[in-house]
């Protein structure tokens, strides 16, 4: 396990939306998917995933449904709604703009001022 990066404030929601956009997942599945995509580099406090899931569902960005897990257990599956898809899109755009802005600021050398 390599060095892990703490999750940036406010990015958890975005990651959850991205995770479930690839297909319905239960809570633990969301955690695994995020860790998998990030190459095990993100540290998420597992319990804090659930308030975020509830909040996103409350806002209508994801929907939930009870179903059966791989190991034949009852589990709650979350999937992205249309509103969630729009939200993910705009969040992604915002994030990219922000990231490139910050990156360009950090690249600045004294000659360029």
């Amino acid at each position: 396990m390599g060095k892990q990066i703490d999750l940036l404030q406010g990015t958890l929601d975005m990651l959850i939306l991205k995770a479930v956009s690839l297909g319905p997942l239960h809570g633990y599945g969301v955690l695994l998917r995020i860790q998998q995509i990030s190459g095990e580099q993100l540290e998420i406090q597992q319990g804090s995933l659930y308030p975020a899931l509830y909040r996103l569902e409350h806002q209508g960005w994801i929907a939930s449904e009870w179903g059966e897990s791989d190991n034949k257990r009852k589990a709650k599956f979350y999937s992205l709604t249309a509103a969630g898809r729009r939200q993910l899109h705009s969040e992604t755009e915002k994030w990219n703009r922000m990231a490139s802005l910050i990156a360009s600021i950090l690249r600045t050398t004294s000659e360029e001022i």
Partner: protein
């Protein structure tokens, strides 16, 4: 955000709380077990894996709590626990809880009761069909300064046909009638109208039928409708009363219907509700020919056509009146500027009691303010004691908002318990209270605690809860963390922040108390002035009684026809009265002082036009005075002062020179620069009537009410101008109750068909005429007393608390050489300064608002110097006393204690 989605999700949570809680549990467990399974796969033991999974997950309960918060349901769970905690706190401090709940019950109860009256009297629509379209029509002569003069049949027809704004119009006659045929002749209030009266108001009968346009006759219809009250009282609610013939003023009439229980005639009630209703055609005998100048109708009400606004109708009527003045110049003297005015019927019924009710409402609202400020102070004292608790909560992670909410929940709990107690008090005492409400307040039978009143009570409770809860709550949350933990076990001192907030509360409380006391002072002073007012006569040892000779519609059946018939009755009556042992003098009047009983009364005052011999006819238009018919001994019975000339004698009778006695007001008004004695006057416009010679001048008698000045009166001899309304005044040392059977016996020995009513002492009559002022003065006075008490408790509580908190400091000061006097000065000074600021603020508010009460005052200006001097002095004295007690306790602090603890 999508509010609807969120709302639906919240509702889902609220409704399926149990299931969702268990689902949450399942979901978390699934996560933990899945994680544990993965960990086992990585080689951990089952037990170790589960432990590891739990650690990675974090605090399960706090995450669950966060999940609930995410969907907005945590709030309710917390509310429940806050309420339970608040309730336990109240139970732990029964003294505080009792004071708070009792004062709140008083405040909310008083508000509920007074508002229920305001609601029924002022706010509710009248209980008739489409009440907004009902209006009262006034005929005015502004050029002569006259309002509400009588009108004629043609003028009424103009309203109906020519104006085009009325759907219906009826004249209204209200007055006494003799009801005979039952065991005892009874005097009842009767209402006579045209045939459309009931259809206009939209009434349906309880039994039988009501008369309508189809019953029209030119003169008098031989049918009556009676009230539910009379039906029960006189006929035992017998349904066979329909078709029965009774006698009203001697006329045989048939009862055709009984009105429903709640029906009341929309007019003034002087001595009770109208009980007998009859309809007239007004164009045939016994009515005079319907000429434009024959103005016989005292009152009129009408129903506007649908869609016609009051403003449109008024504009149309004003224009029509102008046109009529041009069309009939002989009937409308140009200088009178005769015109027509309409007012909503509701306004005419309740307009005169509105100021009183609003002042009472203002008083109870001030009381509830004072109550809540008082509780705020108590809570704030408690909050200072609870700082430790609050600091602990903050340290353990409670948010400020969360703490404010908890404290607000506690005060809301308190205010709602107090409010419920208040509503219960109001419900329980409303009937009792209504007995003291003066009978001139209309619609009291409609007063009840309905949902509007309950909503108002709830609103008041919530507002007081906010007022007294918010300040301490915000304050605690702010102060807690900074001070309490640092100061540890010893309660924080009298910190400046708490102190300042409490000072503001006390000052506002005192200011409100000042306003209430000033209001009460003004009302009480008015009442006292009126009680001490010289009515122009001596009311003690005077007994009064009334009878009514009846006005049969067929003159041939009238036993008291013409002057001789009535005078014979009057003389016989007086002879018999004088013969009663213990009666010194007896006299007759047509208008008992302060009762507004004059049958010719227009708007309460019988103002008739008259002429003066040596004045030109045109100017005689504006000569008006109230005519009162009296027998010779009247002034002797009342012990009124004859200033000049002579009283009437037994010889001032029909056929002799017609005589009159005027009062000072008449003399001043009509003969300001000449001697009125020997001058001649004549009532009405009929030039064939004889002139009356002024033979005497008396000092003004307050005939129209102790608070009515300057109405000119002309007294005439009852032997020359007798009246059907006969009021007796007897000078006697016997009480009214003892004389009543004898008076009844004597009157009914003359005529067994005559009713005898309202036998009472003159003092009681004067007293009753002040009932409405007494009621408001007593009520506001009582509230002012409560306010004074609460304010002094407040200032005492504040200083006592301060002494307790600063006792260490005080003992140190004393150990270092401060004298008792210095300590006394320290504490007392604080109380005095607070009281001073509060009183000054209150005086400023009072001065600004006192003029709102002007219409309730008589002889006292709204900025009465005495009231504005006594109130601050009284309150200041009480506040100083309330400060002195804790201040003296401060001087007893043991100086050694401070040293020991230092």
């Amino acid at each position: 955000m999508n509010l609807l989605t969120r709302f639906l999700s919240w509702v889902k949570w609220m409704v399926k709380r149990q299931r969702l809680e268990s689902e949450m549990e399942t979901e978390v467990r699934f996560h933990l077990e899945s994680r544990a399974a993965d960990l086992v796969r990585k080689g951990l033991s089952q037990q170790e894996a589960m432990r590891q999974a739990r650690i990675e997950f974090g605090g399960i309960e706090s995450h669950k709590d966060a999940m609930r918060a995410s969907v907005g349901v945590r709030w309710w769970g917390e509310l429940g626990s806050d309420l339970r905690y608040g309730f336990r706190l109240l139970c732990k401090n029964p003294g505080f809880a009792a004071v708070a709940i009792l004062t709140l019950a008083l405040g909310v109860g008083a508000n509920t009761a007074i508002f229920s009256i305001v609601n029924a009297v002022l706010l509710h629509s009248l209980p008739y069909r489409d009440p907004d379209r009902l209006v009262r029509a006034y005929f005015n002569e502004p050029g002569l300064g006259l309002r509400d003069v009588r009108f004629s049949k043609p003028e009424m027809d103009d309203l109906l046909t020519r104006s085009g704004v009325f759907e219906d119009v009826t004249p209204i006659f209200e007055g006494s009638e003799n009801l005979t045929g039952a065991k005892q002749p009874e005097r009842v209030e009767g209402v006579n109208t045209s045939f459309s009266y009931f259809s206009m108001l939209g009434v349906t009968p309880q039994i039988g039928r009501l008369y309508g346009p189809q019953d029209f006759v030119p003169g008098v219809a031989p049918v009556v409708v009676i009230s539910d009250g009379l039906w029960h009282r006189a006929y035992g609610a017998d349904p066979n009363v329909i078709g029965r013939t009774i006698r009203i003023d001697g006329d045989p009439v048939t009862i055709i219907g009984v009105l429903p229980r709640g029906f009341r005639h929309p007019g003034p009630t002087t001595s009770g509700d109208a009980e007998v209703f009859a309809a007239f055609g007004f164009i045939g005998a016994p009515f005079p020919p319907p000429l434009r100048g024959t103005r016989i109708f005292p009152n009129g009400i009408g129903r506007l056509k649908p869609g016609v606004t009051l403003k449109q109708a008024q504009a149309r009527l004003t224009a029509m009146a102008a046109q009529l003045r041009r069309d009939f110049p002989a009937d409308y003297a140009p200088q009178a500027q005769w015109t027509i005015e309409i007012q909503p019927l509701q306004e005419t019924l309740v307009g005169n009691v509105r100021p009183m009710l609003l002042v009472l409402l203002g008083a109870v609202i001030l009381i509830v303010f004072i109550v809540s400020l008082n509780i705020a102070n108590l809570l704030l004292a408690r909050a200072s004691g609870r700082q430790q608790e609050m600091a602990m909560r903050l340290a353990l992670g409670a948010s400020r908002g969360r703490m404010v909410r908890q404290l607000l929940t506690e005060s809301m709990l308190l205010s709602l318990i107090g409010g419920a107690a208040g509503i219960a008090t109001a419900v329980g005492t409303l009937g009792f209270l209504l007995r003291f409400v003066p009978s001139n307040v209309p619609r009291l039978n409609e007063v009840r605690i309905d949902w509007v009143v309950l909503a108002f009570a709830l609103l008041i409770s919530i507002l007081t809860g906010l007022v007294f809860g918010l300040a301490p709550a915000l304050h605690s949350a702010k102060v807690a963390l900074t001070s309490a933990i640092r100061e540890g076990g010893r309660g924080s001192g009298y910190s400046t922040k708490t102190g300042r907030l409490r000072d503001v509360l006390i000052i506002s409380e005192l200011a409100f108390a000042v306003m209430l006391m000033v209001g009460a002072g003004l009302l009480l002073r008015t009442l006292r002035d009126l009680l001490q007012e010289n009515p122009g006569f001596n009311p003690t040892q005077v007994v009064t009684a009334n009878t009514w000779l009846g006005v049969p519609n067929d003159p041939k059946t009238d036993p008291y026809l013409g002057i001789p018939g009535k005078v014979a009755f009057d003389r016989e009556l007086l002879r018999r009265m004088r013969a009663i042992p213990g009666v010194e003098f007896a006299a007759i009047t047509s208008a008992l002082p302060t009762t507004n009983s004059n049958p010719n009364a227009v708007g309460g005052l019988a103002i008739e036009g008259f002429a003066i011999e040596d004045r030109p006819v045109e100017s005689s238009q504006d000569l008006r005075a109230e005519r009162i018919r009296i027998s010779p001994d009247y002034f002797k019975v009342l012990q009124a002062t004859l200033l000049r000339g002579r009283s009437f004698t037994e010889g001032d009778e029909d056929g002799k020179q017609q005589v009159a006695i005027i009062d000072e007001a008449t003399a001043r008004k009509y003969w300001p620069d000449r001697d009125p004695l020997g001058r001649q006057v004549r009532f009405g416009k009929d030039p064939t009537k004889p002139w009356l010679t002024v033979v005497g001048i008396i000092r003004d008698i307050k005939n129209d009410g102790l608070d009515v000045d300057g109405v000119p009166h002309i007294f005439v001899s009852v032997y020359q101008d007798p009246n059907k309304q006969v009021s007796l005044v007897l000078r006697t040392s016997l009480p009214a109750a003892l004389l009543e059977p004898q008076i009844r016996h004597e009157i009914q020995s003359i005529d067994p068909g005559l009713p005898v009513f309202n036998v009472s002492s003159m003092n009681r009559i004067l007293d009753r005429s002040l009932a409405s002022r007494r009621f408001s003065a007593d009520l506001v006075g009582g509230f002012a007393g409560v306010a004074l008490l609460l304010a002094s408790i407040g200032i005492y509580g504040l200083l006592a608390y301060m002494v307790g908190q600063r006792s260490r400091e005080i003992s140190l000061r004393m150990a270092l050489g401060a004298r008792r006097w210095d300590v006394l000065k320290l504490i007392l000074g604080r109380g005095v300064v607070l009281a001073g600021v509060g009183i000054v603020a209150g005086m400023i508010f009072s001065a600004a608002t006192a003029s709102l009460m002007a219409s309730l005052l008589y002889g006292v200006r709204p900025h009465d110097l005495v009231v504005f001097l006594i109130v601050p002095l009284l309150l200041f004295a009480v506040a100083a006393l309330a400060s002195y007690i804790p201040a003296r306790r401060a001087t007893r602090v043991d100086p050694m204690r401070g040293l020991r603890e230092a």
